[in-house]
């Protein structure tokens, strides 16, 4: 096992890696910006090195500073966490050149997966289903019609140069096509000076489903099942679950085999997440791969009993999967994670500042991953995630009940958090029923503003309750 490891990250994930290292007997080196001097990752690491001023670009994203810290601390390995340098292939290359083990896939694989179209083609080649669409620009309405027929309606036309919805048209039948093609082309030409269009399968109510994989350095790959991440706002996940209610054991097993074959062929190593859209019929379409540990990895840990960060470290040390996971993987119970952000629960404005009271929930089936504490400070320079609240229950009903009571017992004062938002989502009938999709939050927030308009006192009372709550 590594003797000493540097964590090139901050916040809860830095502390998460420190916990894993402590359990494996690895000495830890934290790096920190001047804004994080009193952070818990600095507090609990064996050593800590200040690498720059508060701004990420001058500290956590400053490759020479991080590498230099690794060199003066004389570490064997660097764990990049998520975000920051975790998917930066150049950083992984510098680590390699500096003879420091980067805990993650080789830079070549990270680079491949970072180029979306190349990644799509690599997946397609390995028979992983991708969202069907035209091969590049449509030359004519007739070609659009051919593609649409082969893919099946509905399809969506998109402007090659586009964005922001302009030049986009959903086409639900053959008859609509000629007219909508013309309209989209004209709109695209007007908006972007370029009328080029392409076409893709359109999913009305997609779910975001992702598979957690582990790959050792000997060509062995295993899938640890899926996570349901459809509860998002502006592509930011808010709540994640495992398993997905929509996933049949047969499909899970098939996908496991497919991913195993595909990632083995690509030469994938370490932990990774393969993201899919699921259509209304339960079919999956590859979107992209994240070549790092994810924020939401604890829900998979809860239902499989596997410590993913420890697995990452053991893989990076060269251990084979057969040693790390001697027993067959099985999914037991249901887990839910709520991301507690330092944000206003209705306006979503970031809420940096000093935390005056911080009381985390505990008890049966409750896990909290956080680097915050009473009198801790949420600096304005970084992302707003301050804690992850994860619950595990024998089924989704128990997990939801547990999450509700844990949210109720999670007291944060001094800043705004998304706790009240999560409490309302957990009470929402559509969420409870489980038949949601990535458009859920739009509908939920619309419902909420309607309700607030009807009962203007309520959100005020909730806000007051939150403020009143003592430590």
């Amino acid at each position: 096992m590594f003797r000493k490891l540097l964590i090139a990250n901050r916040g809860e994930i830095a502390l998460r890696v420190i916990c894993a290292c402590k359990e494996l007997g690895i000495r830890t080196v934290a790096v920190y910006s001047e804004a994080d001097r009193n952070s818990l990752h600095v507090r609990f690491a064996d050593e800590a090195i200040c690498i720059g001023p508060p701004r990420s670009s001058d500290s956590y994203l400053n490759v020479p500073a991080v590498i230099s810290a690794a060199e003066i601390a004389d570490v064997d390995a660097i764990h990049p966490g998520y975000g920051l340098l975790s998917e930066n292939a150049n950083f992984a290359e510098v680590c390699r050149a500096s003879n420091i083990k980067f805990v993650g896939p080789p830079p070549e694989v990270t680079r491949l997966m970072g180029e979306k179209e190349k990644a799509r083609q690599a997946m397609k080649k390995a028979k992983v289903p991708i969202l069907p669409g035209s091969d590049g620009v449509l030359q004519s309405e007739g070609e659009a019609s051919d593609w649409a027929r082969s893919i099946g309606f509905p399809v969506i036309l998109k402007a090659s140069a586009g964005g922001g919805g302009r030049g986009m048209r959903v086409i639900r039948s053959e008859q609509e096509l000629p007219q909508l093609f013309q309209a989209a082309q004209t709109e695209a030409a007007n908006a972007f000076g370029n009328g080029d269009l392409y076409l893709e399968k359109f999913i009305e109510r997609p779910r975001h489903i992702e598979f957690q994989v582990l790959a050792d350095e000997h060509g062995n790959v295993i899938s640890l099942g899926e996570r349901e991440c459809s509860i998002q706002r502006r592509h930011q996940k808010l709540i994640e679950e495992a398993p997905s209610l929509q996933m049949m054991p047969k499909l899970r097993e098939e996908m496991g085999k497919t991913l195993r074959r595909c990632l083995s062929a690509i030469g994938y190593q370490n932990a990774g997440t393969v993201e899919f859209l699921m259509d209304e019929d339960g079919k999956l379409y590859f979107i992209e791969m994240n070549t790092r540990i994810q924020v939401e990895h604890p829900v998979t840990e809860a239902v499989t009993g596997i410590d993913l960060v420890k697995a990452q470290l053991r893989i990076a040390c060269g251990e084979p999967l057969s040693a790390i996971l001697p027993e067959p993987v099985s999914i037991s119970g249901h887990a839910i994670e709520c991301r507690i952000n330092a944000e206003h629960p209705e306006k979503f404005t970031p809420s940096a500042g000093r935390i005056t009271a911080f009381n985390v929930p505990g008890g049966n089936g409750v896990r909290v991953d956080t680097a915050q504490y009473a009198e801790g400070v949420v600096p304005p320079y970084y992302d707003s995630l301050i804690a992850k609240l994860i619950v595990h229950g024998k089924d989704r009903a128990e997990a939801m009940a547990r999450m509700s009571r844990a949210l109720e017992m999670f007291v944060v004062e001094g800043i705004h958090t998304t706790i009240p938002l999560h409490r309302r989502i957990l009470e929402d009938a559509e969420f409870r029923q489980g038949s949601f999709d990535t458009k859920f939050m739009e509908r939920f927030l619309a419902r909420f503003s309607e309700r607030s308009a009807e009962r203007p006192g309520e959100s005020e009372r909730e806000r007051r309750e939150q403020q009143l709550a003592p430590g």
Binding site: R37, V42, A48, I49, C50, A65, A69, E71, D74
Partner: protein
């Protein structure tokens, strides 16, 4: 509040008034003071002597981010060999008059060298007078030798790290008495 504290407070408020401060907050450890004066009482505003005020209140405030949190002290203690001596900030000569001392800090993480090459004479010695922009030392980072220039002119009164020692960002390297 103790009588001493009340006396201190009186002096503080007198001082704040003299200087026509509108609002004032001070915090150190578990002590906090916040003062906000009432609506303007007319009169001219003499310039504030901030330097004096800072001295009165804040040896800590002058280089606040070099105070390691309590835990770091023990972490460093546990790993004295390899860790950069974050605690060495404590070595800034607090007993001397720090008001006219300028601290040159490391702008990068790396290894400190006092001379251009092993065995060569050091760039500067205690007692030397240096100019703004004069090279004081080298910090090696990723095999690159980075010359660190003085950002003030004056007399070198203290070298705060030894040659070959790792330094972190912002770590004090030299204390210079300003001319």
């Amino acid at each position: 509040m103790t009588p001493e504290e009340i006396q201190e407070l009186k002096e503080l408020i007198g001082f704040l008034r003299e200087n026509r401060i509108g609002e004032f907050e001070f915090e150190r450890g578990d002590r906090k003071v916040r003062v906000k004066f009432g609506a303007s009482d007319e009169g001219t505003a003499p310039p504030v002597d901030w330097a004096r005020m800072m001295q009165a209140f804040g040896a800590a405030a002058s280089v606040p981010h070099h105070n390691p949190p309590p835990a770091r002290a023990s972490a460093v203690e546990n790993s004295a060999s390899a860790a950069p001596a974050a605690a060495s900030a404590a070595a800034v000569p607090s007993e001397e008059h720090t008001a006219d001392l300028h601290v040159v800090k490391s702008p990068i993480v790396g290894t400190f060298y006092d001379s251009p090459s092993p065995g060569a004479a050091p760039f500067v010695k205690v007692g030397d007078t240096v100019e703004n922009g004069q090279v004081l030392c080298i910090v090696e980072a990723m095999k690159l030798m980075n010359e660190i220039e003085s950002d003030a002119g004056g007399e070198v009164v203290r070298r705060l790290v030894s040659s070959g020692q790792p330094v972190e960002y912002g770590q004090p390297l030299f204390a210079i008495r300003l001319r």
